[in-house]
Assembly symmetry: C2
Homo-oligomer: 364 residues x 2
């Protein structure tokens, strides 16, 4: 199979760019003495998680328990589930997962949920590793004394082991402008490191402080007290991350190469308009930008429903015909990948591998 | 399993409302002498397609060949693939599908593609049924002489059989205001019926004119010359269709009952804000409305990333706590369903069936 014969709409990854991104992240964090446990919510793909481990990652983060279950079933270990596991049923699943993959870590931000997790772990006969999720504007418990109280509850629970702190700051990741991003993450991460110091003073060892993202890794890797980073999007990049601003002060963020694209086919042409076979079911629509045609700045995409996009050819250097293919950069990579069953990995124009997005839709 | 134990985020359908919607559509079209082949792109679910056939539908439409392949493998027949099958590889798949399910119809709007389909059908040793897709602003060939030319090419192709006209008008479906919608569909459908008359005059029998939608079915069912309707969303409804305006002149569209919801769990609470476990991967984001909390007009949802939503509790009658569940009406049903592997069908609060969304992601 080649780039021109993959049935469309389809998700493509350029292996050279992907591998370059993996090397760049691995090199940056390793030189600075940090671990990295890249976020699997971006790719939901055990084959990619394994490649990252082969490149030195200590495991994989997942957003949800359902993703971690899929990754574990594919043999991955070192899993960190980054959103709280809430309710007795999910706690029982977390305990069952820990029986299979004992180094799995889940997070909690609530004393009631700590008790629920402890009960489930006791019933399953496991010691479940639980980290405290810190609040920087979305989920978690505020750093400082509130977080220490949850950590102590975990530490003293008979069937739980305190695994450390999760200090993900979603706002820092997407803050536009490198200096503003550095300032934001340096401030919020100081509160995480301070929480770790308080726990040390209490005699509670904190084996992990996990933070960082594709947007903030560069600054987080220099912060004492963080132990590991959990970036996700760097492997693929998307229109959003490519425009958050670089360390040179410009708008472009060039630390990583765009590696992900969606390929479509022109299915109908009328006057100066071509219709491609990719719409709301081919691209995530949560960002304010439309999909960007790759290598064709003379064309513009507009949404045209679930299955279609409209291509404006009024300024086209070359017109499109029925059957032509057109590739796009996705506005936002994670929820776009979540629309597909497979990622076609290309070396040049040859499909080198078809990776199953095995944890696609496993949001539970 | 009950409404309160389905792992979240999850897709629920209320069977009483769903069945009422099916009865309403079946009754309306049957009384007016029309056929109906409801659109499977809404549900992508063979179990639902079968229920619709059991209620009198002649088969199922699908948007894509990949969906039709899944439906056919589940034993469904009477399939109409409503977007053009473009390229030699897809033409070969269409021919293979016709070998398995000979009454399958695909559409074309381009003379070149008619030749490609004919070649593929010849190679597969089948006679492939092809309808002409008419243009009302997106895909298709303009009604009148351009459409007749494509119909004649199909009719004279050795391995194809002319199956009729597809006259879907996406703009009519979502036009706000009942009178404007009626005016739009009556005008565009007149062009479809005129095309049929021209073909009749040419001696080309036109066994099918398929049109209509959840928004326009009421008017289309009265139009002479249309043979069948292809509505989809009426089984579920969504915030978009519920607000396109009713026949009474008001904003609400009450022909069908809302039957679909997404259930989430509160995973974190801070002050007047609760975070639920449903974000961009739990709801389609292509409409300008946020998910609407069901039965809780005192609460408001705001997007908070891939996995989360933010609930504003400043005007809450009752506050939410970690572990509480909250259900939402989806802004747009079709691409929301496409995010899930299963639909939980509820009778009251009991899960009566779990239907696999077997054609989810089959956009190819």
């Amino acid at each position: 199979m080649t780039r021109d014969s993959v049935p469309t709409p389809a998700l493509l990854v350029d292996l050279d760019a992907f591998e370059s991104n993996v090397r760049a992240m691995a090199g940056w964090v390793t030189v600075r003495g940090k671990g990295w446990r890249p976020h699997g919510k971006t790719h939901k793909c055990p084959a990619i998680a394994q490649r990252l481990v082969d490149a030195g990652a200590s495991g994989a983060c997942t957003a949800k328990l359902g993703e971690a279950e899929v990754f574990a079933a594919h043999g991955l270990r070192g899993l960190l589930v980054t959103t709280a596991v809430v309710g007795a049923d999910k706690a029982a699943r977390a305990a069952a997962l820990a029986a299979m993959a004992p180094d799995t870590i889940v997070v909690a931000d609530d004393l009631g949920q700590v008790a629920v997790l402890d009960r489930a772990a006791g019933e399953a006969g496991v010691r479940l590793r639980v980290a405290v999720d810190l609040y920087f504007g979305r989920t978690g418990v505020p750093p400082g004394e509130p977080a220490c109280a949850v950590a102590r509850a975990i530490d003293t629970a008979p069937h739980l082991a305190f695994a450390g702190l999760q200090a993900y700051d979603a706002t820092a990741s997407h803050t536009r402008g490198a200096e503003a991003r550095r300032a934001r993450t340096t401030t919020t991460m100081a509160a995480a490191v301070d929480t770790r110091r308080r726990l040390d003073a209490d005699g509670i060892a904190c084996p992990m402080v996990s933070a960082g993202s594709t947007g903030s890794y560069r600054y987080d890797a220099d912060l004492d007290g963080l132990t590991e980073l959990q970036p996700g999007s760097f492997i693929f990049m998307d229109s959003d991350y490519l425009s958050i601003g670089g360390d040179d002060g410009g708008d472009a963020y060039t630390d990583f190469q765009p590696a992900l694209s969606v390929v479509t086919t022109v299915v109908s042409v009328h006057g100066d308009e071509a219709i491609v076979d990719g719409g709301y079911k081919a691209f995530a629509t949560d960002r304010p930008f439309a999909p960007a045609p790759i290598g064709r700045p003379d064309l513009a995409y507009a949404w045209a429903g679930d299955e279609h996009g409209r291509i404006d050819m009024r300024r086209a250097d070359r017109r499109l015909a029925v059957g032509d293919r057109l590739e796009f950069r996705a506005p936002h990579c994670d929820p776009t990948v979540n629309l597909y069953d497979a990622i076609h990995a290309l070396r040049g124009d040859t499909v080198d591998a078809v990776w199953a997005v095995a944890a696609r839709g496993k949001s539970q």
